[in-house]
Amino acid sequence: MKGLSHKTSKKDGERMTDEEFNAVALKYSDSIFRIAFNYCKNRADSDDVVQNVLIKLYNSGKNFESEEHIRNWLIRVAINESKKLLISPFKKHAVPIDELSDKPAFENREQSDLFDAVMNLPKKYRIVVYMYYYEDYSVNEISKMLGANSSTIRTQLSRARNRLRDQLQGVWTDE
């Protein structure tokens, strides 16, 4: 990605160029959306989170040192924006996943079952599982990003795996 694949010469407070911003927006919007979906469980709110995060990115004036730096920053802000949205007075109620029409149309049953099983996990497990299995973050990295103890994350991951294994017998295997 132009201008962000290495340490930039920008100082903090200096906005990225439009070209840089557009490239980041297109590259990371799906990641932000997936993080948000793991919290919100619906497309409309997740898209709102994507917009909020991208606008924050543009206005942040941060000097990102690497691709990894910008990815971590975006994911952390996506988590915060998702939480913020969930605690707003209008979002206090949860909508069960089976009442949603926002589930992707999966081609095979295994994917569909896994998606349902993950969405039925408690929120705290969903985000940890997602960050570990999809974003490839380590337990220590997740603990830093979520501001939690690594032993807590390890426990959550383990409990989530057990739940997935119980729900998805023959699909989710012991590791």
Binding site: R34, I55, Y58, I87
Partner: protein, 194 residues
Amino acid sequence: MSNKELFKQTFSELHASEDKVMEAIKMKGKKNIKHFPAKKIIAIAACVGTILTTGVVANAATDGAIMDNIIWFVNSNGEKTQLNTSTEYSEKTGEKIITASGEDFQLKMGEKDCEITVDGDTHSYGVGYEIDSDGDTAGEMTITQDPDNEEMLDGIDLDGYTTDGIYKAKNNKGQDVVITVEDNGKSVNCKIAE
């Protein structure tokens, strides 16, 4: 197929709306993110409750359970004040009450947003407090300055409102707690001192 491969295959089906992304690209720079006025007394951070690090578990079913939290405030002179708080849950009334031992500070929270009074000034905050039946992460606390449109101040993203460093405090069990603030205040971790 490994669990990881299946997981990636499954969740790669989720995509942000192209229209929404393009909308964000078009409106960049047009929306100013509000920042908290520097002169106000502000809440610096509600650290993720030390309950997370002590391993002590309290959940909604634990009627009257008391959990410890540490909340940092900084006033307009830049002076930091640490407040040891305790949280009491009552399953019977559904009330969650957070009180602090500090001066002029009281925070009560039910299902509504709350008001915090510090040094005689009252400010409105939105407070989210998660209590799960599983219990092990009960006690995650988030505080927003304004429930609708202000920055969230919480254990993860403090948005530069605090100074990096290592702070020490005691929880109400008398244990030493080390609070590490890093990355320009964007990362806050509480640990029981070893």
